[in-house]
């Protein structure tokens, strides 16, 4: 497996390229070597093969140049693009190159200097001068012979000029033997042989005299020359004219050929051979130096190119595992733990790569385990979130600085703001504009400031929407430093408390109705009887006192009866007569009734035409309306322009349709401190009244499966809103009116 980010094709091609290059260089090297070996064995072959040697070496040099140029270009390209490993490669190549090229240059220049000086030393002036002197010496020795033979020839010519023709042959033979000549001949006009004496009797005729001899004797001058022969022999050829007065074409002359003694000839030939050999070599001095220089330069270039190529190749081989490691590290940095590097060798680099692969393997395993754990945690978190979301209890987690860490839906609902999306924000910031949350935050702050981290208390939160009572428990969460936090669990027990109060008041009412109502009638009857029996026998003044006393007793008893009746009404739970009727019509009837009773109060109706009818106990709904309107009218006493508004609405929800009746007035509104308890018995701010009106209304509404709330309007005045299910089946979904009433009875019991 290869490193991430490395092209596999490039990696596969690399060994192929190396093999191809090795084969190429092997073929060139072996071919050149074989050709060179063959040419060295036979110098004649060199002339035929040297072209191929040159071509092969040129091909090699050209290929090497191209390869090195390509490698260097690639290296520079990678260096500029900051390819991983390129700088290390460049440095390694520079160091290797310097280490190899510097000695090469030293050897090159040293060799060049040595060659130039060495070759020059071969051809010193002294040697040349010595050779010249030897030549002069040889010439002097030979000149002596030449002069001797020339004199003999001239003497012979003078003698022959006087010798009769018959004695010429004898004279020539005698002279030849005396002078040890090879041949002596007498030439006549037109260079015709007149007589000749030859050493070799097999040769019939003497050699034709050379033209320069003929020309010279024709000018009446003696001739002598030294003629080198094959085999290192020398001949001295002489000529002399006989008739100095004759015309040139009729000139007679003697020509003789004398051998040079063998010893002198050998010495002279040795001098000549050395002279010639030295001359040949000396003439090659310049070309030799040039050829050596060029050969050395070529070898240097090839060696430098090979060294650079080898340096690049070696550096790349060295750096390749490092490049793999860099690319592998980058891949790991990007999260790719599947990266595995190829083991380059079993050396330290191989150990490093092995460690890297082992590290990625461990990382991959650790990430899988972490991912699995995270999935488990996420599942648990989701499960917990579902549980918390379904809890009616508010759960709020905050840190020491009251920054929200977690809050469930119920917490937001209880505190009147959305807390789930507010994670990470401080609670005081969220409390701005939220009175209830502000009080909650204030209560927490007071306890935290007091160093109380674990507590359980009941908190009363007052707001314009009414008082809410929370049962709140705080527990510190484990953590260190800034991670220390708290979890606050709270329940809205307002309804529970109200139910408890309702149950208590129901019991009180029932007991009052039972324990107090019964004695009232005998008390009233007894007081009237006393008045009737005793009045006739009393004085006017006593009768007056009796009359006032009994009347007071009767009035108070009636008052107590009304109170007891009210309690009885509150406590009793008659059978509900569910019928379908028009709520708008009922509201209109009640409004008309009260318009006639209180003409000062302006009653305005705002009825929803869509609200055609509801299924409920018409009489008890009328009692709700009566109580609400009565309560409003009582609140409007003393108001300059009393106004009352009754509005009906039809609301549709997922659970069903609901009819709402809202009664508003422009009175003083509910007192703030009573706002959360206006539906409790005996909670009233009015001087008269039983304080049971709104309690009864709430009781009837709850018997119908509805709800009621009260608050103050922003523009002033109180507002009470009653919501009743339109269909009885809707309220039956929660157990039905009867079942709910029975349940309420059981709760009260």
């Amino acid at each position: 497996m290869v490193a991430a980010g490395v092209t596999p094709r490039r990696r596969r091609r690399a060994p192929l390229n190396a093999v191809a290059l090795a084969v190429f260089w092997g073929v060139i090297g072996v071919s050149a070597f074989l050709l060179l070996a063959k040419s060295v064995q036979n110098s004649g072959e060199f002339a035929r093969l040297q072209w191929w040697i040159v071509v092969l070496n040129a091909c090699g040099a050209l290929a090497l140049t191209v390869l090195v140029a390509h490698k260097i270009w690639r290296l520079v390209h990678d260096y500029r693009r900051h390819v991983p490993g390129s700088r290390l490669t460049a440095r390694t190549v520079a160091i290797f190159g310097a280490l190899v090229i510097a000695p090469l240059l030293i050897v090159y220049f040293s060799s060049l200097e040595f060659l130039n000086h060495g070759i020059d030393s071969w051809f010193t002036v002294e040697v040349k001068q010595g050779l010249n002197d030897a030549v002069v010496l040889a010439r002097a020795a030979l000149d002596l012979r030449m002069r001797e033979y020339s004199h003999r020839t001239q003497a012979l010519a003078r003698e022959l000029a006087t010798v009769p023709p018959a004695a010429v042959q004898a004279r020539l033979d005698a002279e030849r033997r005396a002078g040890e000549a090879l041949e002596i001949a007498l030439f006549g006009a037109q260079v015709h042989i007149v007589a000749a004496s030859l050493e070799n009797p097999l040769e019939a005729l003497p050699a034709q005299p050379p033209q320069d001899l003929v020309r010279q004797v024709a000018q009446h001058l003696p001739y002598v020359s030294l003629e080198p022969q094959a085999g290192g022999r020398y001949l001295i050829r002489t000529g002399a004219p006989l008739d100095e007065s004759a015309a040139s074409h009729d000139m007679r002359f003697v020509a003789a050929v004398y051998p040079v003694p063998a010893q002198l000839a050998a010495l002279s030939e040795a001098v000549q051979g050395t002279y010639s050999q030295y001359g040949n070599l000396a003439a090659m001095r310049g070309p030799l130096k040039l050829s050596f220089s060029l050969t050395l330069t070529l070898v240097l270039l090839l060696a430098m190119l090979a060294a650079i190529y080898g340096a690049i190749f070696s550096a790349q081989r060295l750096v390749r595992p490092v490049q793999d490691l860099i690319e592998g590290t980058r891949a790991v940095g990007k999260g790719d733990f599947a990266t595995r590097l190829r083991l380059p060798s079993r050396d330290e680099m191989g150990y490093l790569v092995h460690s890297f692969n082992d590290m990625t393997k461990r990382l991959r395993r650790a990430r899988a385990e972490a991912q699995h754990s995270q999935e488990v945690v996420e599942r648990e978190r989701a499960r917990l979130a579902i549980i918390l979301a379904r809890l009616s209890t508010g759960v709020l987690a905050i840190d020491r600085h009251m920054t929200v860490r977690m809050a469930n839906q119920a917490a937001g609902a209880i505190l009147g703001t959305e807390l789930a999306p507010a994670t990470g924000r401080p609670l005081p910031e969220l409390a701005a504009g939220n009175e209830r949350l502000g009080q909650f935050v204030g209560a927490l702050a007071v306890r935290f400031a007091a160093g109380r981290e674990e507590w359980r208390e009941q908190l009363d939160l007052d707001s314009s929407a009414g008082r809410r009572t929370l049962m709140c428990a705080c527990t510190p969460l484990p953590g260190e430093g800034r991670d220390v936090g708290f979890v606050i669990v709270f329940d809205d027990i307002t309804t529970l408390l109200a139910a408890q109060r309702d149950a208590a008041w129901g019991e009180v009412a029932r007991r009052l109705a039972h324990e107090i109502k019964n004695p009232l009638t005998p008390i009233q009857l007894s007081a009237e009887r006393l008045r009737r029996r005793l009045r006739s026998g009393m004085s006017e003044q006593d009768a007056e006192i009796l009359e006032r006393g009994t009347r007071t007793i009767v009035q108070q008893v009636e008052t107590m009866q009304q109170m007891v009746n009210a309690f009885s009404e509150y406590a009793r739970a008659p059978e509900m007569q569910i019928t379908r009727f028009s709520l708008n019509q009922l509201v209109t009837e009640v409004a008309d009734l009260y318009r006639s009773q209180a003409p000062r109060t302006r009653i305005r109706l705002d009825l929803d035409a869509r609200l055609e009818g509801i299924e409920a106990d018409r009489g008890r709904v009328r009692q709700i309306l009566n109580n609400l309107v009565t309560n409003a009218q009582e609140a409007l006493e003393g108001i300059a322009q009393p106004a009352l508004e009754i509005a009906t609405r039809l609301d549709s929800t997922e659970e069903g349709e609901y009819a709402s009746v809202t009664v508003c007035d422009n009175g003083p509104g509910f007192q703030r401190e009573l706002l959360g308890r206006v539906f409790d018995p005996y909670v009233t701010s009015k001087p008269k009244g039983t304080g049971l009106g709104l309690a009864i209304v709430k009781k009837i509404v709850e018997e119908h499966g509805g709800r009621i709330d009260a608050d103050n309007r922003p523009e002033g005045g109180a507002r009470v809103r009653v919501v009743l299910p339109v269909m009885d089946s809707t309220r039956s979904a929660g157990g039905g009116a009867r079942e709910r009433r029975d349940q309420m009875r059981r709760e009260r019991a």
Binding site: Q50, L294, L301
Partner: protein, 199 residues
């Protein structure tokens, strides 16, 4: 160009090595050669005659002559004078067939002891000596009756005969000749002198 000639292939070799930084030196050596062998080098005339079935070549070659050659010879250098003869049978659709390829090798040197110019036939060892360089070069330039072919070597068709004269440095050891591959200022050859063989 197809035969192994050190001088000729030296020129080719130089043209194939453009990467050498010593081209200037090579160019300098070329200038030296031009000065050394400056002058006319050409086959002026050539013909063959048949004598008893033997083709005899007669040629006249003009060789360059100048002070540089004279000085070089007097300094001891030996010059080789080759006369290359090539006889080919013409073929229509292919290269000509090479029938005969012979070379007449002669050397010219200056004999310092005798103050004579010596012309030597390398193959036979015969030598002549001359008092002047002109006579020696004239002797080398005259080739008469050199047997180059016998009739049985011909089997019909058209034949061409080509003659070329070479001048180069002679009497070089093989090892030194290899070194002279790079630069030889004593190497020159004439153009081919070609004509049809009268069969």
């Amino acid at each position: 160009m197809l035969r192994g000639d050190p001088a000729r292939e030296g020129l080719i070799g130089r043209s194939l090595l453009p990467t050498l930084c010593a081209l200037a030196l090579v160019a300098g050596s070329a200038r030296a050669r031009a000065e050394a062998l400056d002058g006319v080098l050409a086959v002026r005339s050539a013909y063959v005659n048949i004598d008893h079935g033997v083709f005899l070549l007669h040629a006249r070659v003009e060789y360059p002559e100048g002070p540089a050659i004279r000085k070089a010879l007097r300094d001891g250098i030996t010059l080789a004078f080759d006369l290359d003869v090539r006889i080919e049978r013409e073929r229509r659709l292919w290269f000509n067939a090479n029938i005969v390829e012979v070379t007449l090798h002669r050397e010219l040197s200056y004999h310092a002891v005798s103050d004579r110019y010596v012309v030597r036939d390398v193959r036979s060892g015969d030598q002549d000596n001359f008092a002047t360089l002109d006579e020696a070069l004239g002797s080398i330039g005259r080739v008469d009756g050199w047997p180059i072919l016998v009739e049985p070597q011909l089997d019909g068709g058209n034949y061409t005969i080509s003659v070329r004269a070479d001048v180069r440095r002679g009497q070089l050891p093989a090892s030194l000749r290899a070194l002279m591959f790079w630069t030889d200022d004593w190497a020159r050859q004439s153009e081919w002198y070609t004509w049809s063989l009268p069969v």
